[in-house]
């Protein structure tokens, strides 16, 4: 089914349809992740692939137009490259350990410690969170920085219109009123936000964490923008407020690391944060997860603002 969707994506010429299909593809792959026990990943893929990415692509399509022309050159060379790459991969898999076998090297080295010791060492049941936020916390910090870097890039490229649009008030009447939608949204948005907070602070026990929470929180605002328009959204959370918050999230994460350094540990060694190392781990993880959530939520909102305001300018 995934394969079919993928093929459909390639064959389609209407970009709009392609983007929608891509959303479906993302949802499907999320479900595959669930089957493969990767609930956290599935959660993220659903939020990002089906949510944020699709949204952004639609935002871009508004500006760039919907239709794709048929390519002029023959697909021979790309096909050869693809075949070659695929062949190398298939060749590579021939010696790969069998799927799902418990005695594969991946399950014998490194991972056992995460599975067996992390509930004691780090003190939280969700191993993904303990690896993410503690064992490999530095990678996660890198991930936050990547998000931040994307923000820097988007701002540099398309910027955000800071003021409200100069159009006279009367033009808002041109838009058809959408009372049903607006009421629905008003009802929904608080729940989404609460859910986001739940995901944020429940990441230690179930699937979730700062990243997913940030995305969900951002999507609440995005929903608001879509139903009420950019100007009203600005009144709710102005980009000038979000900008410093995005940097603060990064600094909160990095600052936690610096504090651990000052307290005598290596960077991001939370164990030194409290007398009891496990308690220290918990403090550290809460702090950095909050940093992640803060940055991700604000960056997603800002990027979305940027796309939408650019689209309005173009229109």
């Amino acid at each position: 089914m995934l394969a079919a969707t993928a093929i459909a994506v390639i064959r389609q010429h209407s970009l709009f349809a392609i983007v929608m299909l891509f959303g479906i593809y993302s949802l499907l792959s999320a479900s595959i992740f669930v089957v493969l026990d990767a609930v956290d990943v599935a959660f993220t893929e659903a939020a990002v692939g089906a949510g944020i990415s699709t949204m952004l692509m639609l935002g871009t399509l508004v500006i760039t137009g919907h239709h794709e022309r048929t390519p002029k050159h023959g697909p021979v060379l790309p096909l050869v490259v693809v075949m070659l790459t695929g062949a190398v991969l298939v060749w590579g898999t021939l010696d790969m350990p069998p799927f799902g076998a418990a005695d594969n090297p991946v399950h014998q080295h490194v991972a056992p410690r995460y599975i067996e010791d992390s509930p004691q060492e780090v003190g939280i049941p969700n191993m993904v969170t303990s690896v993410l936020a503690s064992y490999r916390a530095y990678d996660t910090m890198g991930e936050v920085i990547v998000v931040f870097a994307a923000l820097v890039g988007v701002l540099a490229l398309i910027g955000i219109r800071e003021q409200k649009s100069p159009r006279p008030v009367s033009t808002t009447d041109d838009k058809p009123p959408r009372p049903v939608l607006q009421v629905m949204a008003k009802l929904l948005i608080p729940y989404i936000m609460i859910f986001a907070l739940y995901v944020q602070f429940h990441g230690e026990y179930g699937p979730g964490g700062g990243f997913q929470a940030g995305v969900i929180f951002a999507s609440a605002i995005i929903l608001y923008v879509l139903t009420f328009g950019l100007d009203d959204a600005y009144a709710l959370v102005a980009p000038s407020v979000l900008r410093p918050l995005a940097a603060l999230g990064v600094l909160l994460y990095g600052g936690t690391g610096v504090v651990t350094m000052l307290m005598g540990g290596t960077f991001l060694n939370y164990s030194v944060l409290a007398d009891d190392p496990v308690q220290g781990q918990l403090y550290g993880i809460i702090a950095i997860e909050f940093g992640v959530g803060l940055t991700v939520a604000t960056v997603m909102m800002l990027i979305f603002y940027a796309f939408i305001s650019r689209g309005e300018k173009a229109a």
Binding site: A6, D37, I63, P78, T93, M96, I158
Partner: protein, 130 residues
């Protein structure tokens, strides 16, 4: 050999998806389609990682009292990071696409390459007149 085939079947599906994305990425001229291809390509790689982490009969890696066998959490963590990297790249790529559309009036790579070549040729001519 047959046994091998079924052991590796999962990987091969992933490889097929990966190559579909890769093909979209390099064979098409439309910039947005390229970005979508990139996404498909990447998410197929993610699936490969997650497949590797799967243990038959294991459950999701959240410690519970009654579970003995867990799937490997490490690939999950890596892929969480990679997904984020992917969306960041997508956002930046789309922002670039918007700017390209504004600057060139098209998002077809062939046209853009042609326009760049024309500009270069014009410059060369200007110099030639000196």
């Amino acid at each position: 050999m047959m046994l091998d085939f079924f052991d590796l079947y999962n990987y091969w599906v992933v490889i097929f998806l990966m190559m579909a994305g890769f093909y979209t990425l390099i064979a098409y001229d439309n910039l947005i389609k390229k970005i979508i291809g990139l996404n498909i390509f990447q998410s197929a790689v993610f699936m490969l990682y997650i497949s590797v982490g799967k243990v038959s009969g294991g459950s999701e890696p959240i410690a519970a009292d009654n579970i003995e066998l867990y799937s490997n959490p490490l690939p999950h963590v890596l892929i969480l990071t990679a997904i984020v990297v992917g969306v960041a790249t997508t956002a930046l790529g789309l922002a670039l696409t918007i700017r390209i559309k504004e600057a060139y009036g098209t998002i077809n790579e062939n046209d853009i390459v042609q326009m760049n070549r024309d500009a270069e040729a014009e410059k060369a001519q200007e110099w030639g007149r000196e």
